[in-house]
């Protein structure tokens, strides 16, 4: 509990600092005041800063930082759930091929729709539907509509369908005359928080809360599911039903996130493992801790993506992989790390 409180304070601090840092530096004090001013509807603190600074804080930087927090928390949560469902330590939110489906959906909307009438919203919608469609296909083929709960088949179906959607995306880009489409496709491959606005935050936020609440109450079952399907059946869990539910929830949340940020790699794999070394396999703690650490990790990565080579903004996926990769290697090489039970002995 103490750890969680400390992390919540850290999260709030990193939000304020991340809003402060940028091409125009704003003192964290100012950021804090501005946010409180807006949140209390002007009851606390007078509107001291000028409208320009206020707009930078409230309209541009804060939505972006919050999107980063939401995305980091959501991907870490989905990573834990996928690792639990597949009982595979290398599973992550994109293991079902949702990111390929999302880029295919987005590119299809741009190429097939007439360029002038296609807005950002419909591209986001296309990405979301592409990801959801991929999830449904993988589920239908991988589990034979819920009849088997073999996860090997599920993961393999994910790989195959992901390959097909990547090929379709490339085909669409190749045959269409406009070069802009390649850029759009790239956006969904490397991920970016650049499209953040208040309006697009709401839907993924609601989905995140729903998934968080449901998995929090399912945490006892998740623990047992990780031990094995047989143990779960013996102890009175409806294994098929809970797997379907978990796949549905991760697909929904991952799709909602990909649609607005593209696919940001590695975070859904690394953060769950970091948290396992801290609190073991207890899912109630894991879920809370991973969401908080995931949020802080992604906020930090975005600050680096914006600040390392100004005014150039790096794709955030480069940072998450460059920071997460070596850290992950360090974890694996540590002798007492045992997500894989006896294997490290």
């Amino acid at each position: 509990m103490l750890g969680v409180s400390v992390l919540i304070v850290l999260l709030i601090l990193s939000i304020v600092i991340a809003v402060a840092i940028g091409s125009t530096y704003i003192a964290p004090r100012e950021v804090y005041k501005a946010i409180i001013y807006k949140l209390t509807n002007g009851l606390m603190y007078k509107d001291t800063s000028d409208a320009m600074v206020m707009a930078i804080i409230w309209e541009i930087r804060l939505p972006r930082v919050l999107l980063g927090a939401l995305c980091g928390a959501g991907l870490a949560l989905c990573g834990i759930l996928m690792q639990c469902v597949t009982k595979n330590p290398i599973a992550e939110p994109y293991v079902l091929g949702l990111s390929s489906g999302a880029s295919c959906g987005a590119v299809a909307v741009i190429v097939l729709g007439s360029m002038s009438s296609v807005g950002i919203t419909s591209i986001t919608m296309g990405a979301f539907l592409g990801a959801i469609l991929t999830g449904i296909l993988v589920f239908a083929i991988g589990t034979q509509l819920g009849r088997t709960s073999s996860t090997t088949r599920l993961v393999l179906s994910g790989m195959a369908i992901s390959t097909i959607f990547s090929a379709l995306t490339n085909l669409l880009i190749y045959v269409s005359p406009n070069t802009n489409q390649a850029k759009t496709a790239l956006f969904w491959t490397v991920g970016s928080l650049g499209g953040a606005k208040w309006e697009i935050l709401l839907f993924p936020f609601i989905i995140f809360c729903i998934v968080m609440i449901i998995t929090f109450f399912l945490s006892k079952s998740l623990d047992i599911l990780l031990v094995g399907d047989t143990s779960a059946i013996i102890l009175g869990i409806n294994v098929k039903w809970i797997k379907v539910l978990l796949l549905l929830l991760t697909t929904l949340l991952t799709s909602a996130l990909i649609a607005v940020t593209g696919s940001i790699g590695f975070i859904g794999l690394v953060v769950p493992h970091i948290c396992r070394t801290l609190v073991g396999s207890d899912h109630k703690k894991l879920i809370l801790l991973s969401s908080l650490i995931g949020a802080i990790f992604l906020i930090g990565s975005d600050v680096m993506a914006r600040g390392l080579f100004p005014p150039l903004e790096l794709p955030i996926g480069i940072i998450t992989a460059l920071v997460g990769g070596p850290f992950f290697l360090y974890l694996i090489s540590k002798k007492n790390y045992s997500f894989g039970g006896n294997e490290t002995c």
């Binding site: 079952s221 094995g228 102890l235 997500f339």
Partner: protein
Amino acid sequence: MLKLQINNLKFSIDNEEILKDISFDIKNGAFVGIIGPNGSGKSTLLKNIYRVYKPSSGKIILDERVLSKLKEKECAQKIAVLAQESNTYFDFTVEQIVKMGRYPYKSIFEDYSKEDLQIVRQTLQKVGLENDMNRTFSKLSGGEKQRALIARALVQNADFLILDEPTNHLDIGYQIQLMDLVKNLKMTTLAAIHDINLAAMYCDYLIVIHKGKIIKVGSPEEVITVALLKEIFGVNAYVGINPINKKIQVSFMSNIG
């Protein structure tokens, strides 16, 4: 009183009939063993009872209630199982693993209570693991793992125990230790046992399964004969009585003398 009744149970996978018309009863308090060669259907039969598989036809009745009509958690309050589990991709402590046995008594909104932890501790004492509560389960020895899983089965507070070949990978010392522990519980037990001598030593009744059918039921003395061993395992054997514990003892003989 009958604990378990199996009536005309059939089970197929991909149109291949693995269990062909199985029927038998188990009395309250009996220790019943199932023996038979690899692939005879022993483990499949047990998995039909503990709901990993769904019977193709037939009825399983537990405490005079049809098993398939019970809710999942209700079943888990009545049947405890000791089975093999292959996954080790987790980092739970012994206490956390054993605590899971209390799951059938919890709603999704409830956490494990102080009483649950009390029961877990008492049970760990019973199986001799009271000093290993905070050790990582996956780092225990094979025998310790099985004892922890017995503790998990015990805190389920069921009165019917199924053993699905739990001693297969254990040294003989651990096998005896495990079977002694189970026998002392005096629960109604149904066990698939690979080792004929072990089965004869612990079971009140034996059920012999061969090619998905029951071919003999009775006390170890009635069931284990030279002719039967030749028929189902295809080996020559000497069957005698151990002069010390007066139990049936089998000694197998090579075919080349």
